[in-house]
Amino acid sequence: MSSDFVSVSQVRDGLKKVNYLADEGIAGVVYLAQRLGKPVLIEGPAGTGKTQLAKSVAELTGARLIRLQCYEGLDESKALYEWNYKKQLLRIQADKKSDSWSDVHDDIFSDEFLLTRPLLEAISAPDPVVLLIDEVDRVEVETEALLLEVLSEYQVSIPELGTISAKQIPMVFLTSNNTRELSEALKRRCLFLHIDYPDMEREKEIVLAKVPDISVNLADQIARIVRSIRQLDLKKAPSVSETLDWARTLILLGVDHIDAQQAKETLHVLLKYQTDIAKAAKELSVDE
């Protein structure tokens, strides 16, 4: 790591500089992750800045971000490494007579023929990196096991080459939308961070930081309305990114004070289900 954090507040200020407003919990866990050299498992509703946190930490520390997007059916050859089969075949056919068997064997299982995938790349990188394993809950339970060696020992075992250990310990972030229970083994190896919807004050600051040219008054009003909407019993509560979209929409429309009519007309930016929109309009009494 290029720069070590010395305190929680330093992390928070640093993240603020790269436009990520962390609360006490987020900053604390990032600090701990770096000090203890442990991966962070981030969980929470969609659109609360889980992925963004990893990106911001990368930006803050000046590290390269390596991202592994998880999906069902992800396997070793996509996550860890793969032998470049075609190139190996070419090598064998190129000069058939000159080499003995053992030479060829040694040669085709060397670094040259190895295709590194995100996990191996993060481990073998000489420069500081931040590894983001996105939506880890999408892989099957069996595939999760692939991650365990990387996460706890920071090494990858390749039968033909031996064990490759990390030159420097990368910061690792795993995100999960909580569509299934992750295995105990994985959870045990990680620090756990639950990012929930921000409270009103923080949401207001986020809006102020992320939306250029917004007035403090409008941001305050937006944050208040969003808080009231989140208290309703909805199918899908508005996320932070939807709040920001809403704020941008209002700016584009040239609104500087939200009244009932404008709120009603733009509610669909914030809520994505018709039943939710109807309910919110009724509750906020903006539908008369």
Binding site: G28, R188, Q221, K235, L284
Partner: protein, 483 residues
Amino acid sequence: MPVIDLMSGFVAELRRAGLPVSLTENLDAMEAIKVIPIEDRDAFKYALGATLVKNSSHWRVFETIFEVYFSLRGSQYNIVDPGEDQADEFWRDEQDQAQQGQGEGRGAGGGGLEALTPEELANMLMRALMQGDQAMMRALARQSVARFAGMEPGRPVGGTYYLYRTLRNLDLDNMLAKLLEANKQSNQREATNLEQRLTKDEYESRIEQFKKEVEAEIRRRLVADRGAEAMAKTLRKPLPEDVEFMHASREEMQSLKKALFPLTRKLAARLARKRRHGRKGPLDFRNTVRHSLSYGGVPAEPKFKYPRPAKPELMVVADISGSVAAFARFTLMLVYAIQSQFSKVRSFVFIDGLDEVTKYFKATEDIQEAIHKVNTEADVVWVDGHSDYGHAFEVFWERYGKDINPKTTVLLLGDARNNYHASQSWVVKEMRKRARRVYWLNPEPRSYWNTGDSIVGEYGGHTDGVYECRNLRQLEGFVEKLV
């Protein structure tokens, strides 16, 4: 007390509350607190949380226990030996005054809170709530507890009692109305509906915060009086998935509802996945040939088609009389939230009469609304509104019995407390002959079955199984088995 002793007590309490804290996690926590100073209470709390709590629904339980064990460790609350209650109280009062002096200085300025009359205190509280003055609210919370709660050392009364006493004296129930009134007067023009609503939400959240301050203060005092361990024991609450349907308080119901949705999402994802996996499908020729290309044309890796087993049809017949209503509601919510896993779901509710309620769920996407309609509109009373399983089953058989086919799974929900009516258990027997499966779910603890007017055994004999479903965990387990 050294931190290590405190930590081991703390971790033991977490485990007693049902959190699965492993040894490695415990060691991680120890490692973590080496780099975070205990004086920074928030950071310390998050450090422990990140290492020990790996499930967000356990966070509340963790927070409570943390507060009990560590809330007194700040610089201003050095804990005194529990044996010296008197001295402790005295010392504490001194501290309180010092604290209030500070709050006062920032707030209204001049004079101790001690000297105020109750009316003045209430006015100050109102002003603090109005302006959202955090420091003042905290000071007032402490003062109110000292004055109104009437706490005596060693008195074996729970925290809720003190909370009730304090809040009643402050007349907090009417506070919201008063605040809104005051706000209206201070505004020159009429506020719009939207503004009114936002103001109300703002005040509500401030009052809620004040209540929390009061609660925390009472807890702090109780811990000082009784010690952390005893206090943690009285505060111990079941995790959301362990709350019993039949005895859940309103607050617990809320947390149950919140826990239900992520749970159904997980359940649906898991069931869909389970359905697609398994190795029994026939060979997928096309896919196998495609994959053989990377082995030079040798079909080294055979590929199989995913099996697509038929989805079951479901009929839910639920007792919604008083005692088991909550259970029926939750089961219906769960079933409808994962209805994509069934080819067809029909639901019926009864007390002593029976009515089909499938239409309420079809009419709207909003499950909550449908449940509400079931409770208010379904025609379920025949004679007196006391459970009569026998009559309800008879009606069911007469009207809908012919719709049961070999693909149908029937779920019967209820405690089988029949008020000594005729059981008519032949209906269940006939159902089983026609249906694929018949299950009975009983929200009562197994030890209560077949006591008093419960005749679950008589019905149960004719079903494919009777299951105890006291909490979400058991319900989830059953549903997974069902699909």
